[in-house]
Symmetry: C2
C-alpha cells in the first residue's frame, strides 16, 4: 500500500503548532498593514479559529515572545516569527508550467516572506522559452542540473498526476528537500524529504460541509 512520507515531527514542537505559525504570521502582517502596533493574544487568535490560550502556548515553544498581561508588539513578533520559521532566503522552482504552475508563479504574495522563484520547467516544447515574471520556461531535462547548480532545495510540483512520481524522483536525486505537491496523487519519497500536500478537493469539501451544515439549521 502506498504510504505518505509526510508525517514527521520537528523535534519537540508538535506538528499542529508548526502549522499554526504561518497563520499567526499571516494575520500579524494584515494587522501591520492596517497600522496596528500592539495586539493581545485574544485579538490575534480571534480571527483564526484558535483559542487565545492555545496561541500563547504555541508561541511559548519558541520563548521570549510575551510577558503575562502585556500585548504583543506587532513588528517585533513578526521579526521573531520570520526568524523562528527560518524565512528570509527561500529559493524554489516550479515543475509544470500549465495554468496552475503559472498561477503559482504569478502569486507574488510569496515574495514578502522571502520565497524567490528561480526556475520554471515544463515538458512541453511549445512553452519553453516563454517568460513568466522574467523567468524563462526551461525544458524538464534541464531541471536536474539547474537544481544542482543553483543549490535549490524546494520544488513545487504542478505536473499531471501521471508524471508526478517521476519528476519527484528526479527532483530529490538532484537535491530537493521539500516538495509542495499540487498533483492529486500520493508520492513516495525518502524520509529526509518533506512533502506538503495541497489537496484542493479537501478544502472544497470542507467548505461544502460547513456551508450546508449551517444552512440546514444546525
Amino acid at each position: 500500500m502506498p504510504r505518505s512520507k509526510q508525517n514527521r515531527k520537528v523535534k519537540g514542537v508538535p506538528e499542529a503548532t508548526i502549522l499554526r505559525l504561518p497563520l499567526y504570521l499571516n494575520r500579524l502582517r494584515a494587522l501591520q498593514r492596517a497600522g496596528a502596533e500592539q495586539v493581545s493574544s485574544r485579538e490575534l487568535a480571534d480571527g483564526l479559529q484558535i483559542k487565545a490560550g492555545q496561541l500563547r502556548h504555541d508561541l511559548h515553544h519558541f520563548g521570549g515572545f510575551s510577558r503575562p498581561g502585556h500585548p504583543y508588539e506587532v513588528d517585533a513578533l513578526i521579526l521573531r516569527l520570520i526568524e523562528v520559521m527560518k524565512l528570509g532566503h527561500c529559493p524554489y522552482i516550479i515543475a509544470g508550467v500549465g495554468q496552475l504552475g503559472q498561477a503559482i508563479a504569478n502569486y507574488t504574495h510569496f515574495d514578502e516572506y522571502g520565497f524567490r522563484l528561480k526556475g520554471l520547467f515544463d515538458v512541453n516544447p511549445r512553452i519553453q522559452g516563454m517568460l513568466v515574471r522574467d523567468i524563462p520556461v526551461r525544458g524538464l531535462l534541464e531541471m536536474d542540473s539547474f537544481i544542482r547548480k543553483e543549490k535549490i532545495e524546494m520544488g513545487v510540483l504542478a505536473v499531471p498526476p501521471s508524471a508526478a512520481q517521476d519528476v519527484v524522483d528526479r527532483m530529490v536525486k538532484a537535491g530537493i528537500r521539500g516538495i509542495w505537491n499540487f498533483a492529486p496523487v500520493e508520492l513516495e519519497t525518502s524520509p529526509d524529504v518533506v512533502v506538503q500536500e495541497e489537496f484542493l478537493s479537501v478544502s472544497l469539501m470542507a467548505l461544502n460541509f460547513k456551508m450546508k451544515s449551517i444552512s440546514s439549521g444546525s
Copy 2:
C-alpha cells in the same frame, strides 16, 4: 479591526473533526483506486499524520461506521462519508478567470466529489466568451442574476485582492452561502456565510519550516 467571519462550529462536531473528514475521504478514494476492500483505522490514519484513536473518535460523531476489532469496509465508508459530508450535488461558480481561476476551473478532481462548475465570470471583456471546459466566461455584471436564476450557493473567489470585497458583497446579496477565497485578503461577510480561506503562502511557509528543521538536524 477587520475580523474573519469563518470561525463557526457545526453543531456538536468540532471544527477540527470537520476538517479531517475530507482527508479521510480523499485517502479512502486512493485506497479504493488501489483495489483495497477493507482498511483498519491504523492503516487509514497512518498516511495522514493522525492517530488511529483520533480517527475512530472523529468517525464516531457520525455513528455506525465501525465495530470494535473489525476493519472498515472501504466502499461502505466512502458512501457514508459522502452522505455525512452532504456531497453529491454541489454546483459552484468562479469569479475571476485569470490563471488561477482557469487552473481551478480545469482541476477536474473536484468532479468526482459531486462539484459541478456552472459559471465563470470576469471583468475583462477580452476573455468574455472564451470557453473553459465548455463553459463561456461571462461578464461580472451578469453574475448576480446568474446566481439567482441557477440557485448557486457556492462561489470561488479568484479575483485580485482590491476587487475581492466588492465581488463577495454581490455574491452574498445574490444568494451565495459559501465562499472559497483565494484572494490573500480578509473578507467581511454576514454570520450565515462560510468563508474558506485558501492561504497559499501559509502552506509554503509550513513546508519551508518543516524542511529546514529536518535538514538542520532536529
